[in-house]
Symmetry: C2
Subunit: 608 residues, 2 copies
């Protein structure tokens, strides 16, 4: 036996016994230890591997019991020769002649069945230092201890007996119960057990719904911008898509929805803008559904991540007539591992969906259904969502502050979005597509938004930044790198101190202008910030009326530059700027003599 | 707090602490313990529930940490009032007016998208005392300890980091490696990592393959009888189906396959007849594929349950040109809980399948992929299959013997099938459909076979009996009940001692006829059994040349009847029969004077 094959990794999660077993099974299966090979005695192997003899004895005992090895009295331990062995055939491997393959396979694949919608796929985010990507979760957020506990319970003898003998199309009754009593009631929804179907997540739910409700005879109302995956599913079904715009209350509801047989909507956090639909708009949508006789697919995306305020009840909860098909999934933080979602609709439709599901894959794995059921039943899910809400809220504020503090960047974010993303607007002349690619090459992942539009030419000049996949301490460095990149990209297009319009202030005139002045900034997220530079060298700043955020600090000038340091804002670091006065505006220039910001100024008139 | 809500089940798999936590979370979530409710002290609750105080303290500590309850100094413990609460809406519930629903939903569902194929669904087998159903496994066969061990490893910190950050379409590389090295090599198949796609089992694999390769322009060759689920998938795609018959070597290969673009075949154990395809037939199929330019879908059903002989290598292993798409799944004993399968094909096709899979459900849950990977890697899978093979072989022999020993039943089984089922033929006049229904009402589940035929009218008068779901000790009682039922059904149609043709032997003439006679039985599975009744009252029996099965026993007669007892056969019980001689045949009648069997007899001629 070539012991070199048994390399033990003392830093591994696997204990030594498990590693030895794994390597020996590998060696036997691969033929490296052929049948009949004599194995070293447990003492000898233990010495060679520098492990305790008991460890090797335990492995040998297991392998004996499983029939991998046999013990012959007085002659030792041997690899069993009655094991199934690797075959001798070859099959088509990677090395098969590709041309021959192409000849055989040409025109075989029905390309109309391959989804076209998803041309832009995000790169593997976990390889990037600054992944501002929404909907993927860094593994630190996974509720490991609680999931382990729930898994252990689901693997108890009684549980296994229940889920290992499922009859092929029923979901786990315990999970259905928990979804109804712990999830749906919180969304205001009463649903009977026959009105809930478990799926492999929202993508899977929408696939099945579009299979059964969409074809070329149906017009489907979609948000614009909206969920490109749903649009892709509808295109695959040849449905007509009506794109209806989104405002700050979500989908606009008006008579243009007439003619739709189905309307798809994401009211909790609109995909992709993250705006929330207020209760009146929800009611208006239901009224329109009755008036124009359409069904509603309510995709309750991120309904639980409403840490800014209490969420609105689901549209389904207001729906007396059963026109609403409700779709949600267990928090994405559990995916991609677990990925479970569900559909709530009337029992007739659920029955048909269940038939379709049987054809696709029978049912979502029942072991995971039972683990999720325990996870909900023990309150771990709620506890996780509370923790998650805190963490994500912290990250979101960190991102807002970082964007706000990085002056001189021509970006604006909407102040009032919820959820886990910012919808970031760039100036018209800024090429966002190019910028997103450049940023990725510098380790910063942003999400382009063109794919959310039915017509990419209508896309706003925006990108999205999410916080689910980036740890809090990476946010400020990531934004800094982003800002450096923007400065580099716009370096030729921005005002330079040497060619600026206005008056470059220095020394005494700088002191005189700034002393006692009031400065009106527009923050990156659109809020107005008013700063008062007091004559004694202190300063105070406060955000516009809606916010109680304020700070104080100190300012000074020298021969060339203006200096300021907030006690909290801007990470309490001192900044230095060259100052140019241009009418009622002042312009700030950094040490590279590039403009980084401008603001309105009201100069203190000591005469008044 | 209504403590009555906390009922502890001391026989539960869940420990008391878990039960108390579960019930308290339930009470809080449902509103039974409203926010602000004061909870009893840990000592008081412990007394009321008769558990140790530490148990209650531990639960309270967890709930405090999770924010479910709060502790106010000197006043006690209260339900938190900052928890998300059950909403107040109602939504459409079971009680919604069904008529209104029907009006809204009429004509909405695209019924052409609902699979039609699966009209006959087996009832929930686990409710029946004698489930002779194939492909469902009783939970005693689930490898609980090993699966738990693999689950534990998959939930180690390092593993979770890997699988919880998957990028949305890749499979677990560890599982791909294990499938390639532990499963495929044994089937003779070399496959590169890009040539393997993990699915949710064979149904899911076939769904995706038929989506991409079948439409109304394609003729697909199917076995007749054959897998009705595959036929259903093809019908859903409007493909033309060519039904080609099956003989004792599986699918017949001849020029009638010309014109097929695709041929679906189950060579390891043909579905449903369980015959195995020998190597020459496999080669002939590949030759035909080249000659007539078709692709082959090789569904390697139950490839691992070949306990009678070494399995043939997969067709894919002989396929130099990459015409074969190989489909298999991890042993069904792990389903329905885990349900993982895979497709092996050339990398181009796998890439397209992966795109389709993303639209359907992204990927099979990665936690289960990792558990399965460990399960394979530690050799548990092979060990399980060896154990399983032994158990199922034992059950299958038990069923064969039971059917063989229950004389007088007009059924025949094929002697040479492998796998886990018997294909049981009934006489033409026997109404199998009615019989299967009757048997189910008597607790015996059999599988009807009409659905395996493209034309139910062409179906053989057969049913299937499987052994995966019935414990060994239930097989004989189950067959006994079946035989009673058959006797009852055919009671009017069988020969009765009072109206028989031939000569009823008694006393001395019975003694003279039997003494020294040789009797030739045809067993229920078609084997010939030769019995010699020696003049000294002993007897010997042996099965026909192929078998070395033999036994000895004793016989005697009294005034009325013939008695015999084998030392092993027929469960070593004494049987008594009335005997009628009719030409060269003797007929056996039971105590109800009904015929139970007949055999050829060669009477001993003392003159020769």
């Amino acid at each position: 036996m070539r012991n070199a094959l048994i390399y033990l990794d003392r830093d591994s999660d696997l204990n030594l016994q498990t590693q030895i077993r794994q390597k020996m099974v590998d060696g036997i299966a691969s033929g490296a230890f052929p049948p009949g090979t004599r194995l070293p005695s447990s003492r000898k192997l233990a010495e060679q591997l520098d492990v305790s003899r008991n460890t090797v004895v335990a492995v040998y005992q297991e392998l004996l019991a499983d029939g991998y090895i046999i013990s012959r009295q007085r002659s030792g331990i041997f690899v069993s020769d009655t094991l199934p062995r690797a075959g001798t055939g070859s099959g088509a491997s990677d090395e098969t002649d590709e041309t021959a393959q192409l000849l055989i396979w040409r025109n075989r694949i029905k390309h109309d069945r391959i989804p076209k919608s998803d041309a832009y796929e995000l790169p593997n985010w976990s390889n990037y230092p600054f992944p501002f990507i929404d909907g993927k979760f860094d593994s630190s957020l996974f509720p490991l201890a609680e999931w382990r506990e729930a898994s252990k319970l689901a693997l108890s003898v009684g549980s296994v007996e229940e889920w290992s003998t499922g009859d092929g199309e029923a979901d786990d009754p315990m999970l259905i119960h928990e979804i109804r009593t712990k999830f749906l009631t919180r969304r205001g929804i009463n649903a009977g057990p026959n009105e809930v179907l478990v799926t492999l997540g929202t993508q899977n739910s929408l696939f099945m719904i579009s299979q059964l409700l969409a074809d070329r005879s149906v017009t489907v109302g979609m948000e614009e911008p909206g969920n490109f995956r749903m649009r892709g599913l509808l295109e695959d079904r040849h449905a007509r898509v009506h794109a209806q715009e989104v405002d700050e209350q979500g989908l606009v509801v008006d008579d243009r929805l007439k003619g739709c047989g189905l309307v798809y909507v994401t009211p909790s956090h609109q995909v992709p803008t993250a705006v929330a639909m207020p209760a009146e708009r929800r009611r208006a949508l239901l009224d329109a559904a009755v008036k124009h006789d359409f069904l509603v697919v309510e995709d309750d995306y991120e309904c639980e991540l409403n840490y800014e305020r209490q969420p609105e009840p689901a549209i389904r909860s207001m729906d007396g007539a059963g026109r609403v098909i409700y779709v949600a999934e267990l928090a994405k933080v559990l995916a991609p591992g677990i990925r479970l979602g569900f559909i709530v609709a009337n029992a007739v439709f659920i029955r048909q969906l269940r038939k379709l599901r049987r054809t696709l894959f029978s049912h979502p794995p029942l072991n995971n259904q039972r683990v999720a059921a325990y996870f909900l039943s023990l309150g771990y899910y709620d506890a996780m969502m509370m923790r998650l809400g805190k963490v994500l809220r912290g990250r979101r504020l960190e991102l807002r502050d970082a964007l706000s503090n990085m002056r001189g960047v021509p970006l604006r974010i909407s102040p009032e979005v919820g959820g886990t993303t910012y919808w970031v607007k760039a100036p018209k002349q800024f090429n966002v597509d190019y910028f997103v690619q450049e940023a990725a090459q510098h380790g910063v992942l942003l999400e382009p938004v063109a794919r959310y539009y039915s017509d990419a030419n209508r896309a706003e000049n925006c990108f999205r930044m999410g916080v689910t996949s980036i740890p809090q301490d990476k946010i400020v460095p990531g934004v800094k790198r982003l800002v450096e990149l923007i400065r580099y990209i716009v370096r030729g297009q921005v005002e330079h101190l040497d060619s600026v319009t206005g008056q470059w202030l220095r020394g005494a005139s700088l002191q005189a202008t700034m002393s006692g002045a009031t400065i009106y900034y527009e923050e990156v997220y659109g809020t107005l910030c008013t700063i008062k530079l007091h004559v004694d060298g202190t300063m105070t700043g406060h955000m516009s009326p809606d916010s109680d955020d304020q700070d104080s600090g100190t300012w000074r000038v020298d021969e060339e530059r203006f200096y300021r340091r907030w006690s909290r804002w801007n990470y309490a670091t001192e900044s230095a700027y060259f100052i140019v006065l241009d009418g009622d505006r002042i312009k700030y220039f950094n040490k590279d003599r590039q403009i980084v910001d401008s603001a309105q100024i009201k100069i203190h008139d000591p005469e008044n």
